[in-house]
């Protein structure tokens, strides 16, 4: 059961302050600056966070350890960044191309997040890996494997969709918490960090965002369910309606 109050708009305090003139208004199309691997490492040591905007598949294969994931193609992209990242923390973007980084910072400007972006990793994960830097991965699990493994001992399932989506049909054993609430309400779920956890949403994007948060929380064995509940239902697997 999720908290009754709907989640507030992302970055609300800074948006209101900008509209009231208390924070500067960006009156030009912002540009994200390229950063080298070394610069990124140094900035991370100083407290910058990494926001990886690539696909769930790319993020899964390899990303900078502790990076947040929010897929740029989502219409909610900038809100997701705002909801899951700590307030006012400077950001380094990881993208596939320079133009994706510019697209990302443009979208972020709509909710006053552009001012947090210091730059983007020039050359992306290719540059990072070519430099031999540590990467972290997020295993992907298709719905057929998930169905087989549901009966195995100890596999936890977390559905990170909104409660109305969950109520319309979910995997019976799945717990529910909107990805937006993970930063504040994760502990209420009583999940076991030592046991495997499969995360699902509607299509596999929000679940990857959620997984990036849980990786940072020390979960040892996470799986992002590819295709999400859309794939699960297409495959004809069982769902239950309403929470038990």
């Amino acid at each position: 059961m999720q908290d009754e109050q709907p989640v507030k708009p992302a970055n609300i305090a800074n948006i209101v302050a900008t509209n009231q003139g208390k924070l500067p208004l960006t009156m030009e199309i912002p540009k994200a600056q390229p950063l080298t691997v070394t610069q990124v490492e140094d900035l991370m040591a100083e407290g910058h966070i990494v926001v990886d905007t690539r696909s769930s598949a790319d993020f899964g294969v390899g990303h900078i350890p502790r990076a947040y994931h929010a897929h740029l193609s989502s219409p909610e992209f900038e809100q997701r960044v705002g909801w899951v990242t700590p307030l006012d923390t400077p950001i380094i973007l990881v993208t596939n191309h320079d133009k994706d980084a510019q697209h990302a910072i443009y979208n972020m400007a709509f909710i006053a997040l552009n001012t947090r972006v210091t730059g983007y990793l020039d050359g992306g994960m290719t540059a990072w890996m070519d430099a031999g830097k540590v990467t972290e991965s997020l295993p992907q699990m298709d719905v057929f494997t998930l169905s087989d493994r549901l009966s195995s001992n100890g596999l936890q399932v977390l559905d990170v969709r909104e409660d109305d989506e969950y109520d319309e049909g979910h995997i019976e054993v799945a717990k529910n918490l909107s990805f937006k609430r993970i930063p504040t309400q994760l502990d209420s779920l009583g999940l076991n960090k030592e046991k495997p956890l499969a995360i699902t949403c509607a299509t596999g994007k929000r679940s990857s965002t959620a997984a990036s948060l849980l990786l940072r929380q020390g979960f040892k064995e996470l799986y992002n369910v590819t295709g999400g509940m859309t794939a699960w239902e297409s495959a004809g697997f069982d769902t239950v309606f309403f929470e038990e």
Partner: protein, 186 residues
């Protein structure tokens, strides 16, 4: 009079432009941060942006109103009760802005935010009666905007229901309603 809706699909934010062919002037209501679509529309309509109006200090997106006013030299129009620290023309309930035959009447609708205004629009050559109302973050599709962001819900809800909703319901039934948010918004 011409009237255009400009929607940012990703977030469901709706901005509106109202123009008067006679005077070649137009107004932009609740522009979002990227102002290019409004500049493009004004150019397409061969119209000068005369007024840029913000209904309230938005909480979910950055307003492009100040940027648009600065670039075009338009008059920036902000509700009287908004807590802003920049220069603007302040408007209150009952004020009317005219552009030729177009009348834009300010309706104060506190609740979502204390200062929020809606715009009741008339095309005087057609008649005295109001044609449509731009309800911004007040009346939305099938709902009203939440009263707990700018103040405690217990403060926002009563004024929403005791002051603003009656003002809205007093309008004739034929008045068209154009909200500030459509499907897909936060």
């Amino acid at each position: 009079m011409w009237f255009e809706t400009l929607i940012r699909e990703a977030t469901g934010c709706a901005a509106y432009m109202i123009g008067c062919q006679g005077t070649g002037q137009c107004a932009v209501f609740d522009p979002v941060w990227d102002i290019q679509p409004y500049l493009d529309m004004a150019k397409e309509k061969e119209s000068t942006i005369r007024y840029v109006i913000d209904s309230h200090s938005h909480a979910d997106h950055v307003s492009g109103a100040r940027w648009l006013a600065e670039v075009t030299g338009a008059e920036l129009v902000i509700p009287e009760l908004a807590e802003i620290n920049y220069e603007a023309t302040r408007v209150k309930h009952g004020d009317e802005i005219r552009m030729g035959g177009v009348g834009m009447e300010i309706v104060h609708v506190p609740g979502h935010r204390p200062e929020q205004i809606n715009l009741l629009v008339r095309d005087y050559p057609r008649g005295e009666e109001p044609w449509f109302i731009l309800t911004a973050d007040f009346v939305l599709v099938g709902d009203v905007a939440r009263p707990d962001l700018a103040q405690a819900g217990e403060e926002g809800a009563p004024v929403l229901f005791d002051v603003s909703i009656p003002r809205f319901l007093d309008l004739p039934d034929y008045v068209e309603v154009y909200p500030g948010h459509l499907a897909g918004s936060t």
